[in-house]
Assembly symmetry: C2
């Protein structure tokens, strides 16, 4: 999660909402991403999507079986969907997102077996730190 | 929807599950996409995601207010989420997806106002043709 927080800090340094994600296989980081929506003019450029695409490119396969994602904020519908589609084994989440979180907060689609093989989910890892970086960003914006 | 079906045919010609999407503003197609998951080794390379990213790149903005998406198959959670995030005005859907459809079939997140501004949704446009291209593909696969 420290690696995911490092990614979130890169977003912060670029004036983006600070969310970061990494994809790990064994003890190796195989994909990284941070929110780049404004920089890339791309509505889909959330940290998780970019980390999945980075892992796909590095591993040269779209299936991420054997991989775990660490992400600083609970994934939104788009990212929760992408995580399911990628066939990842596990997702480790920092802070919860009561507004858009689709891994328990608004909906819990990520553990809905009707959608096929879904990952294990662990929430609340380094929660305070993951929340603080977001709060600081939004406080400064006001 | 005929333009979206043309995109789906490109997927078919590349051995991909034939789903196509276009983003239209006024009377102009500003984004196109077809499923390229296998070709790109990219779990996120669904037609809708690629069409949104194409429209974002062409318009140089991530907000797609004033745009409508035409898509041959009901969007999955990832794509329904991306459509909401893009702030598009409307989505026109061909065939329904009872397995992964998030615009009414499994869930209906695309009209859930808790998620912010959500688009208008119209379903069943050229439904038979949109369904047939998928059925033919899967029949041939077996």
């Amino acid at each position: 999660m420290h690696e995911a927080l490092n990614e979130a800090r890169k977003a912060l340094n670029n004036g983006e909402v600070p969310v970061g994600a990494v994809v790990v296989m064994g003890d190796k980081v195989v994909g990284r991403g941070y929110n780049m929506r404004e920089m890339l003019y791309d509505a889909t450029a959330h940290a998780e999507i970019l980390a999945i695409r980075d892992a796909n490119a590095n591993l040269k396969r779209w299936r991420l079986e054997g991989c775990t994602m660490y992400v600083t904020l609970e994934p939104c519908p788009m990212c929760a969907g992408a995580i399911i589609l990628s066939r990842m084994d596990m997702v480790v989440i920092g802070a919860q997102d009561p507004r858009m979180g689709f891994c328990g907060s608004v909906y819990n689609i990520i553990e809905d077996r009707r959608l096929g093989k879904t990952p294990e989910v662990i929430t609340g890892i380094l929660e305070d730190e993951c929340q603080r970086i977001l709060k600081d960003f939004f406080n400064r914006k006001r």
